[in-house]
Amino acid sequence: MATERFTLEELKRILREGAGTDENVDLDGDILDTDFEELGYESLALLETCGRIEREYDISLDDSAVSDARTPRALVDLVNGHLAPAAA
C-alpha cells in the first residue's frame, strides 16, 4: 500500500458515518484536543468508529490503546502509528 496518513478530516468523516453527530456539537470546530465524551461519543461509538477505521485501513487496533485515546488527536496519532511502518 502506498504512503497513507490518517487525518482529522478522515476521522470526522468516519465518526459522522458510523456514529453521527450530536445536536450541540460542531465537529468542524477546534476539536483536536476535546475529549470524545464531550463530543458525545461514548465507548460504543468509539468501538464502531475504530471498527470502521480497521476495515478501511486494513489495520488492527489494540482495545486498550483505543480506550486510552481520549481525544481526536490521540486517536489520529494511534492510527498513524499503525500506518507508519508501511510508509517508512
Binding site: 459522522r16 458515518e17 458510523g18 456514529a19 453521527g20 453527530t21 450530536d22 445536536e23 458525545g40 460504543l44 461509538a45 468501538l47 464502531e48 471498527g51 480497521e54 476495515r55
Partner: protein, 409 residues
C-alpha cells in the same frame, strides 16, 4: 375514594399510526373512517403470501432526531423516540426540570428492531463479522425503546419492557401504573412496533394469521363472515402517565384515568375450559370498581380469525349481554400494530371521551351470530365516560384495561 391508592392519569399522547402521523392527523382520519392500509411500499412484497400493510406515512426521522441517534436506531425506535417527544410536549413536561429518578419508562415490544437486525445479518453473511455495526448489540433488542427514551430524556426511575405480543401494550400501561402507585411520579409508557421489512415479514407469515387478500377494503374484516386474518401494521402510541395528585398540582390537562386492569392466560388447548378473555374483562372491571353498565364502549382486540372472533364476541356478550354495549375496532384502519395496538386504542378511547364520538370499525359487516353492537360505517356520537380496551397476544395472553374520563372539577 381513599388517598391510600394513588390514581394514575394520562396527561400526554404521542401517536404514529398508519392513518395519521401525530395525534391531530390520526384523530382527524380515525373519526371519519379513513384507512391507512395499502400495498407494502418499503420493499417489493410480490413474492410473499401477504402484500398489504399499514405503514406510517410521511415519517422522516432526520426531521426529528439528531444523526447521533439515527445511526444507532431501528425504524421502530425512531418512531418511539419521536412519539415520546410529542407525548411529553403534549403533557407540558420538560424532563430536564424534574428529578431524574422521579421519571421512568415502561414500554411493550413484540419483535424488536427487525430491519436493523436484517441489515447487520446481511453484512455478517456477505462481508464478515468485522462489518457488523457495534450498535447491533442493542438496536434490535426488545427493551431498546425503553432504553433510548430513558437516555434521551434523562429518566432514571423504574423502567422495563413487557413482551406478550399484542397484550403487551396493556400490560405495559398496567406496569407503569403499578410503578406510579409505588411512588414514581411519572412514567412514559405505551408501545411502538414496526417490522415491515423482509425478515420481519417472513416471521409474521409464520404465525399463519395474516390476510392474503390484495384488496385493502376486504383484507381485514373482524367479526365479518368473510374474516380471513389480519393485516399487520406499524406504529402505536406513547403515553405520559402521572400520579393524579402530582398532575393536579402542576395544573396539567388530564385526558383520563387508567382505572382498571386485568390479565389472564388461556387454558391449555384442548382442555375444554373456557378461554381467559372474559375473566380478564371481569378482573379489569372489578379493579376499576366499575359495573358492566358503566362501560360506554369496548375497543375490541379484533383478531379477524373466526375462532378468535367467536371467543371475543362470547366474552363481550357474556359480560354485557347480547348487543349490550357499543363495540368498535378502529384498528381496521391501521392493521394490527402488535405491541403498539392497545396503547393506540387507549389513546383513541381518551380521544373518544374528549370528542364524545365512538370511531367506526371500517369495511366489516358483522355476522349476526356474534350478537355484538359493532359501530360500523361511520362514527357514533356518544357521551363516553368509561371505556374498556381489550388485547390478546399470540399463545394465550389476554389483557383488559378500563379507561375513565377525567373527574369534572
Amino acid at each position: 375514594m381513599t388517598a391510600a391508592s394513588p390514581r394514575t392519569v394520562v396527561t400526554g399522547l404521542g401517536i404514529t399510526a398508519p392513518n395519521g402521523l401525530g395525534t391531530r392527523d390520526y384523530w382527524a382520519a380515525t373519526r371519519v373512517g379513513k384507512s391507512g392500509i395499502g400495498r407494502v411500499t418499503r420493499f417489493d412484497p410480490s413474492r410473499y403470501p401477504s402484500r398489504l400493510a399499514g405503514e406510517v406515512p410521511g415519517f422522516v426521522a432526520e426531521d426529528h432526531l439528531p444523526s447521533r441517534l439515527i445511526t444507532q436506531t431501528d425504524h421502530m425506535t425512531r418512531l418511539a423516540l419521536v412519539a415520546a417527544d410529542w407525548a411529553l410536549e403534549d403533557a407540558g413536561i420538560r424532563p430536564e426540570e424534574l428529578p431524574e429518578y422521579d421519571m421512568g419508562v415502561v414500554t411493550a415490544s413484540s419483535s424488536g428492531g427487525f430491519e436493523f437486525g436484517q441489515r447487520e445479518l446481511q453484512k455478517l453473511w456477505s462481508q464478515g463479522s468485522q462489518f457488523v455495526s457495534a450498535y447491533q448489540s442493542f438496536a434490535w433488542f426488545y427493551a431498546v425503546n425503553s432504553g433510548q427514551i430513558s437516555i434521551r430524556n434523562g429518566m432514571k426511575g423504574p423502567s422495563g419492557v413487557l413482551v406478550s405480543d399484542q397484550a403487551g401494550g396493556l400490560d405495559a400501561l398496567a406496569h407503569a401504573r403499578r410503578q406510579i402507585r409505588r411512588g414514581t411520579r411519572l412514567i412514559v409508557s405505551g408501545g411502538i412496533d414496526a417490522s415491515i421489512c423482509p425478515w420481519g415479514w417472513v416471521a409474521q407469515q409464520a404465525g399463519k394469521r395474516l390476510s392474503t387478500s390484495d384488496n385493502p377494503e376486504r383484507a381485514f374484516l373482524p367479526f365479518d363472515p368473510a374474516a380471513c386474518g389480519h393485516v399487520p401494521g406499524e406504529g402505536g402510541a406513547i403515553l405520559v402517565l402521572e400520579d393524579a395528585e402530582a398532575a393536579a398540582r402542576r395544573g396539567a390537562r388530564v385526558y383520563g384515568e387508567i382505572a382498571g386492569y386485568g390479565a389472564t392466560f388461556d387454558p391449555r388447548p384442548g382442555s375444554g375450559r373456557e378461554p381467559g378473555l372474559r375473566r380478564a374483562v371481569e378482573a379489569a372491571l372489578a379493579n376499576a370498581g366499575a359495573r358492566p353498565d358503566d362501560i360506554d364502549v369496548v375497543f375490541a382486540d379484533a383478531a379477524a380469525v373466526p375462532e378468535l372472533d367467536r371467543v371475543e364476541a362470547d366474552a363481550i356478550t357474556g359480560v354485557f349481554g347480547p348487543y349490550g354495549v357499543p363495540v368498535t375496532a378502529p384498528k381496521t384502519m391501521t392493521g394490527r400494530l402488535y405491541s403498539g395496538a392497545a396503547p393506540l386504542d387507549v389513546a383513541t378511547a381518551l380521544l373518544a371521551i374528549d370528542d364524545e364520538l365512538i370511531p367506526p370499525t371500517v369495511n366489516t359487516d358483522p355476522a349476526p351470530a356474534y350478537s355484538i353492537d359493532l359501530v360500523t360505517g361511520q362514527a357514533r356520537p356518544a357521551k363516553v365516560r368509561t371505556a374498556l380496551v381489550l388485547a390478546r397476544g399470540h399463545a394465550g395472553f389476554n389483557s383488559a384495561v378500563v379507561v375513565r374520563a377525567p373527574k369534572t372539577p
